[in-house]
Symmetry: C2
Subunit: 158 residues, 2 copies
């Protein structure tokens, strides 16, 4: 079992960054479809997707949003964060096999409620921006070092 | 196999609404953890969560965001929509067993690029707002009636 820890509000500095990467596999697109109920064939049916402007199946845009959310919860500020708000601007499609990297950067601290504002950029493996936005998070005041549960094992198919 | 259809830009009217509901189960929280990599124990470890302000495991906030995204893609405008942007304001936690209902309402149409602005409200079964926001979507210009793929079958555990 591994550990995860956080940055408290007092430890966080303007300009601080964190990154979080994930290779998006076809199975992630299937998981997102099962989770959300969005079973549009542009995400799930390769023959249908071949006839669209995208030529192949694309990931749901909000799948990259879930990766921003994980970057905040796992990296900066990390455990104990309270997610208050998020803006998202979807810029380019993500396809199975793409590796996306979230970069978070602290742009503002609001002492009154321990709020941090994070600039969020998600780039693909070619360095192109697929998603950008801004997050508003109440940072933890208590240092936490936690045993990190293993990710649940998930199987797709019959 | 069921069918899904869309509203074209010309068919969409200011004030038009659509709703989309989902009961959030513990397995959805586990799926979100597996998908995003956010394995914080407040979502996955009931004993840990009992010691937090939430008293029990809560869903990841962005899980409700994925349900807004599905409402747009499946209901209004539906298939052929291009998701351009989304703002999210997380207001209350969602727990396993809660049923959340997304209501989308068209507040603006921008003819030049066939863009619609959607007010997004997510209420729980008690009528409390858990998530609100605004979506910006390029609506389809072509009427689509599509065979809807079955949601992938997903199993959790060994």
């Amino acid at each position: 079992m591994s550990q995860i820890s956080n940055y408290t509000y007092d430890e966080i500095t303007i300009g601080q960054t964190a990154t979080y990467s994930k290779q998006i596999e076809n199975r992630d697109i299937q998981l997102f479809a099962a989770l959300s109920g969005d079973v549009n064939p542009v995400h799930l049916d390769a023959a249908f997707a071949a006839g669209t402007q995208f030529k192949e199946c694309i990931a749901h845009g909000m799948l990259s949003g879930t990766i921003i959310s994980a970057a905040i919860a796992m990296k900066l500020p990390g455990p104990g964060s309270i997610y208050l708000g998020q803006s998202l601007r979807f810029r380019l499609p993500v396809k199975a096999g793409d590796t996306i990297t979230v970069t978070l950067q602290v742009t503002e601290k609001k002492d009154k409620r321990c709020i941090v504002i994070l600039d969020c950029k998600v780039l693909n493996q070619h360095g192109k921006r697929v998603l950008t936005g801004t997050a508003e998070v109440m940072a933890p005041t208590e240092k936490l070092v936690l045993e990190s549960p293993e990710p649940p094992r998930v199987h797709i198919g019959d």
